[in-house]
Symmetry: D2
Subunit: 347 residues, 4 copies
């Protein structure tokens, strides 16, 4: 395999798009050749995102002009419902695809259609998609032509649960609570009153309590690993006034005799992007700002048999664009850390 | 009783102090006569807090100069450990006291001494203190000479649980999880690296997971209302990058047949400062910013028998200075809403 | 005159609208009877703005249903271009109008039409409008049926210059620089990418450098007070990541022998809403948050003959809704401070 | 010269220290061998700054233990007054020094002593220091053993003025106004009430109007380039509620016939870290967040002969640690961009 590949990005005008552009600019093996946007076609990327002045010479193109079929890999950083229509043709031409939207995340088509409120346009392709939680599915990602990049909440929650579920250590039929908090960039870069500075700033609230699309995604992961646990999942997302960052506080019941710290530390021993912190630590979102990292700690609640697991990611990096690049690295046999080894930005 | 009283504030240089000054400036029955600070004695309040230029002519005085014994009521807005030394002398002279610190909140002295790390200086006075969760203890507050104003987290959590506990509706010996988030003003106005703008801003984290002083305070309230419930309490506080505001997401197990919305709405029907929102609502902290309000909603988690209760307050108002004024109103027979009927500041 | 009036608000779904509602809720002489919104007709105000739950029982109505002609005063909190169409009919029926939009601010119709990019719908009404910079035009406001409430930048800048211009103390034909910074709420509550939390947060920038609509408004005020000064005005607005607040740093050349602090302090001696701070002070925006105040200080630049004037307001209060209420108080002979004497919210 | 050097950092517990550590971690030619802190000696860097977990194995050491004399280069990220005492001994042993504090910035010792309020401990060393505004002094920096890294405000202002001053295009004896705004990280990472989240958040203010230490530093640069211009400088710094970022709006009088955009664009044509944007652009601070960049635009004020120059940097990068690394690159003959070519983090 060539050491250098050509990448395209469909729908690069949003936050995951600009983050992909930032990360790929520093990648030793990738040339970004095509960036599409129907609405901004003809505009230079550097004019649209002034942070990229001097970094890219590209302009946005319509999908027709962009020659995506000549790319080795195409990222979909599009709203839900686009990749399911456009990816199959690229796949047929041998292009590898990483879809950052939700189109290929759920294997159960009726469940997907219920939560996303539309008919799936390429249900026959879903089975070919590998769920791109890198640390869970490394070997199948390496063989995949189509990777469904996970949602931000599912990444933050599932990475913390994965070693415990694999070892069968969660108590069955018990509540498994994931109280999650997201920065505002998770809502995307679209004109919307609810995420205005003056609406989301200096404010904290739950949302989607009655049902969030990431609930079935997390349940799918849990069900695949341990039985009779997913049913107990309670997931409440919250909006917190910061730009980037996601935190999950999880309340678990574990089978007696489990040492969850040891399980986690052992499982992730060779994973460069998951950091198991000492018991009693409290990971903070800024400790991963701008970096493809998940930091996790676990401890027992005082005077209680409930275990508390804390997990943080940057929702735009390990929760989106960074994990997409990590998956691309795995798919193409690159060093898994290529382009992803910058330190977090603090403060 | 005279319709107009004289109030003193001990330690008014912090956030609860300046908030008391703001609220009392608009109170129809109160004259603030004395404001003490050892470190700022001689400085005009209006010079120290430019927001109060034109509002107060007072200067800070040392406690000795201030003539607190001539006040009808004295508020302690001091760090823990001050009121327990200074309040008894005032009480002995017939002054009524509202203590915003933690000194008189816990009836169990050894528990208090363990969590606060010091010997209690006036243990004999503790039994005389009425716990000032206004909606729980209105009638005893009306008779009290000494009110222990609750902590912010205990207020936010306990108001939501109170009607359920009173009705005995929480399942015994089951986890009762309170995932709580506070704005930074809860940490007070003291030089401290951890609450610098560049440390607390654009960041989210849990803290005090291994044990927070408000845990025994919440447990005391629960235990007083229903047996075998407090033991299940798991309380995790988090710091969120906003100035004011506190939110609690609680995960409860209720006895079958309970309608928690109906119980809450009925209980608080005549309480002007507790707003039970329609089921499915998500109260946000800015909806109570600057106001003496607690807004609560309750709903069942999707596909689960766990109940989710959401509660918000302004930590400096219903969580501190506002509830102190409310308690003062009750103690002196004023209209409970006097000085507290301003609408929240939004945006 | 009756001591109690009926007020209507046209277009109350924005930030100036909700701020008017907040302030009028506390006004001793006003009942808000009608609140209009074409898009939200039928929705309860308390559902639309949860901060107003328990404060208002009103629902939004269409302008036709609302019976605005029965009001004593109608506030237009609408985008530019609405009041110029709808106010004349109300005026003809004897209703007094305070227009918070820009429609009646500029007496020169062609200049207005150039800057606002539309034909003026009621040019014959413009001459009847009194410019509502309360401290400049108190006596004519008292007689006015139509008040053009000033823009936020013009209020912040003009209040600081007014006494100097009245005394003829600015050097003619010299640069007069107003470097102004606004919180994001100045951009209003409309879906817009540029004012998203993730765009405006943690960011600072100038905007409108090539020309801002408030430039001719400030020039009109200057020209009316001193000749050959307005030509030197350079006005650069900036967007700063805070919700409320506006600050102006002005760089002036004054005729020799001028004591600007003395002039300002003397001029505003009886103005409850303008606070001239001691020379060397630096007013901060939070010192006026939520209050109808302008705080100003003046000092000479070190090693220079340039004078520096600093001015702060809350753009939604003294820069919009608060000044509108102040003008209404003057128009109806109420105490000028009625409904406006709450202290700023700090922190 | 070896392609790989050893670097030490004195006083690495502040924001410029952690930023140096972040940047040097990605530098292809540098190994950080020693990091000193008297107060934190013995603590692992990765424990102190959780963002650096997995990046550094070092622990803080006392200056005595650290073996700084074995380093090729030592950075002082210390408060003012430390480098002037400790740098001379290192210089005597042949170590190169980049001082990020102010100790060696001003050539005029009495002026330095007046503004910094202390006697200079090594006045004889001052003359050997090269002022490290990289784009101004590249060739002398290449020869220097001691570089005085500029202040953040001086960098932001001087880079914009440099080409105009070099060409003698500023009008003599006229006001030259620099209205500057800084994020809060400029105040450093020390316990301090004024920079608490609840004091600096949601607030905007001027400060240091009566005199700021960066005034003589900017004047020194101006005086060295064009006569009779520095006297007109008026510099007002402001604090804006963001973590990183600095913006300057400058108001200039230029000799007739000057095309400042052309002058700037020509001067910086080969400077990778200065971006001259098209006239009419408004650079925003987030467009340089985390990157060693200065973006500048220039335009004429409408209806005026005043020129407006806008300049933005990240105060911790081009305004501190990034420029220090750039200077190190120049001193050691590395590629000037080594370790500094990451794209800005947006959003």
């Amino acid at each position: 395999m060539s050491n250098r590949i050509k990448a395209g990005i469909v729908g690069a005008t949003g936050y995951t798009g600009v983050e992909l552009l930032r990360l790929l600019a520093a990648h030793p093996n990738v040339d970004v050749c095509a960036v599409t946007s129907r609405s901004e076609a003809g505009i230079a990327v550097a004019d649209y995102f002034p942070s990229l002045r001097g970094v890219y010479d590209l302009a946005f193109q319509t999908p027709d002009e962009a020659g995506l079929a000549q790319c080795d890999v195409v990222f979909f950083a599009t709203p839900n419902g686009v990749a399911m229509k456009e990816a199959p043709a690229l796949l047929a031409q041998g292009v590898r695809v990483v879809d950052l939207s939700a189109d290929y995340r759920l294997q159960n088509i009726p469940v997907w259609e219920k939560w996303y409120g539309m008919a799936h346009a390429s249900p026959e392709t879903v089975a070919r998609a590998v769920y791109g939680l890198s640390e869970m599915n490394r070997s199948s990602i390496a063989q995949a032509q189509l990777v469904a990049n996970p949602g931000c909440y599912p990444t933050c929650v599932s990475l913390a649960l994965l070693p415990l579920l694999k070892a069968g250590r969660l108590k069955e039929n018990m509540p498994l609570i994931a109280d999650c908090k997201s920065g505002v960039s998770g809502a995307g870069r679209k004109a919307n009153v609810g995420t205005l500075f003056c609406e989301a700033g200096d404010n904290f609230k739950a949302y989607g309590v009655g049902g969030h699309r990431h609930l079935p995604e997390i349940k799918q992961t849990i069900s695949g690993l341990q039985s009779n646990v997913a049913e107990g999942l309670v997931f409440v997302p919250h909006l917190t006034p910061m730009i980037r960052g996601m935190q999950a506080t999880m309340y678990l019941h574990l089978h007696d005799g489990t040492d969850p710290h040891e399980l986690l530390a052992g499982f992730y021993h060779n994973s460069p992007f998951v950091d198991i912190m000492p018991p009693g630590s409290t990971p903070e979102t800024r400790s991963v700002r701008g970096a493809n990292l998940c930091r996790i700690s676990v401890q027992q609640a005082p005077q209680s048999n409930v275990w508390i697991v804390l997990s943080v990611i940057d929702n735009l990096v390990k929760g989106a664009a960074g994990q997409a690049v990590q998956n691309m690295n795995i798919m193409f046999g690159f060093n898994e850390e290529a382009g992803l080894n910058n330190a977090p930005l603090l403060p």
